[in-house]
Amino acid sequence: MTRRGSKFEVRDVRVDYGKNRALQGLSLDVIENEILSIIGPSNSGKTSFLRSLNRLNDLDPNARLTGTILLDGIDIYREMAPEALRKRVGMIFALPIPLPRSIYDNVAYGPRMAGLGDKRRLDALVEDSLKSAYLWDEVKDRLRSSALKLSGGQQQRLCIARTLALNPEVILFDEPCSGLDPISTAKVEDTMTELRKSRTIILVTNNTKQAARVGTRTAFFLMGELVEVGPTDKIFTAPDDPRTNDYITGKFG
């Protein structure tokens, strides 16, 4: 594997929610065009890490962050507007959360908020995004019907299409398949593998098998700390740290 440039450089990041420390001074690089899987038991800081990368923690008045996070060398907390950052760093949540609007309006939401009003360009963007998320064929005849009528798996692919409509460079997946059946999960995983060609993906998952299937590198988090990170094959066959071994072999977690 050729070493490419770092997309994210995370340095000594500490996140507190009130009195609870979620991340204890964590440093980690995310390499361009990789799928970085993050595994670890619950409360290990995986989601907090993800939410600090697109500054979603800003919404929580109790959240405090110290340390620096650079995206392409630029400090996202000091040198970038959060809206601009979030257009470049998209996020897929654990449960599919379609807004109670039509399929079309869900996908067009981000571009519209960014000021795109031209109907023809929006139409093309919606179609392209739905195609990239492998949903177009299933919904092309009912773009105006409510997104809430879709099945769970379709809703999650709609959420992926909605994020893709902004053409982000990085996509954060926060346990995207935790509510999905195996077939829907396979579709979402295929999408991730396809997206990796042009984007950087960070996947938080409770499912170690999923990390092994799709991740190019895997990081193991425990109690708000990074235990180790390395190529997925190595982490799952010959991890350096015994705690990693215990987790992936199912001794705890």
Binding site: L56, L59, K87, I97, L99, Y109, L166
Partner: protein, 279 residues
């Protein structure tokens, strides 16, 4: 068997409590319809009072109450909604916002006659609006602010936090998020607050007593600076201040008041159901 008997007693108590709530409502409606329906006529609804209010219609009171409702809601709904948005979406939890919250709760506990005195001193005297529709409507509006703020905040709180997170994660600003992913889904709840306020504004007597209500003014108001008659006050004076007014005239006034509130509420409910269906 004993548990089943207990259960029956329990259900009985619940049913009794429910009936206790419904019976007075039915009784009131029956009373005002049976005693007031005979007064309803074109002349009663659409002409001026005559002969010291012993004859003729109640048009100025209907129009006055209608104006008061429209103007006071036009004032209190936007201000209340904006204040609620600020308090629940922007304000941090600190001493200032806690004080404001306390003030809002206390405001809703102030008796309506105190609002009347407040309106008299602030709008009528200090701001020199005089005894007028605008003074009365503003007084009523301030009285309904706590209701509107509280119901709006509940409605905003009921919008899932995840909608905000999704919207923000798609690059929307905070205001865009509120405007496009919070307010649309809170609108039915906000309108519920408006509906509650309409009934209160239309029915209150004390706040309009010193600020707008005319005892006898057999013409329609020309502007917001005019005094006006209003249904609740008209009902009060025809029932207590003037002897010899036919009974069906008084109950007819009550019937019109209830009917007017009902019509305005139905309008708001229809608007609300439109918003609900949009989802």
């Amino acid at each position: 068997m004993k548990e089943r008997a207990k259960q029956k007693v329990g259900f009985g108590v619940l049913l009794f409590a429910t009936l206790l709530v419904v019976i007075p409502v039915l009784f009131i409606i029956w009373l005002i319809i049976s005693k007031g329906a005979s007064a309803l006529s074109f002349k009663f609804l659409f002409t001026m009072p005559q002969n010291g209010m012993k004859a003729g219609g109640i048009l100025p009171a209907i129009v006055g109450t209608f104006y008061l409702v429209v103007v006071s809601i036009a004032f209190s709904l936007p201000i209340g909604v904006l204040a609620a948005i600020y308090l629940s979406e922007y304000a941090k939890d600190n001493a200032l916002t806690r004080t404001i919250n306390l003030a809002i709760i206390n405001l809703s506990g102030v008796s309506s006659v105190v609002f009347g005195l407040f309106g008299l001193s602030l709008f009528v005297v200090f701001l020199k609006f005089g005894v007028s529709i605008i003074s009365g409507a503003l007084t009523l509006g301030i009285m309904t602010l706590p209701v509107i703020i509280t119901t709006t905040r509940e409605a905003l709180r009921a919008v899932p936090r995840s909608y905000r997170e999704v919207s923000v994660s798609l690059g929307a600003t905070r205001w865009q998020t509120i405007r496009h992913s919070v307010l649309p889904f809170a609108t039915p709840g906000i309108l519920t607050g408006a509906i509650l306020s309409i009934g209160r504004v239309a029915g209150e007597t004390a706040p309009i007593l010193f600020t707008v209500a005319a005892f006898y003014l057999p013409r329609l108001p020309h502007s917001l600076g005019d005094q006006a008659m209003a249904l609740p006050y008209h009902l009060y004076i025809t029932s207590t201040q003037i002897p010899g007014i036919p009974e069906n005239y008084r109950y007819g006034t009550a019937l019109v008041l209830v009917g007017l509130v009902l019509i305005m509420n139905i309008t708001a409910v229809v608007i609300r159901s439109r918003f609900r269906r949009k989802k």
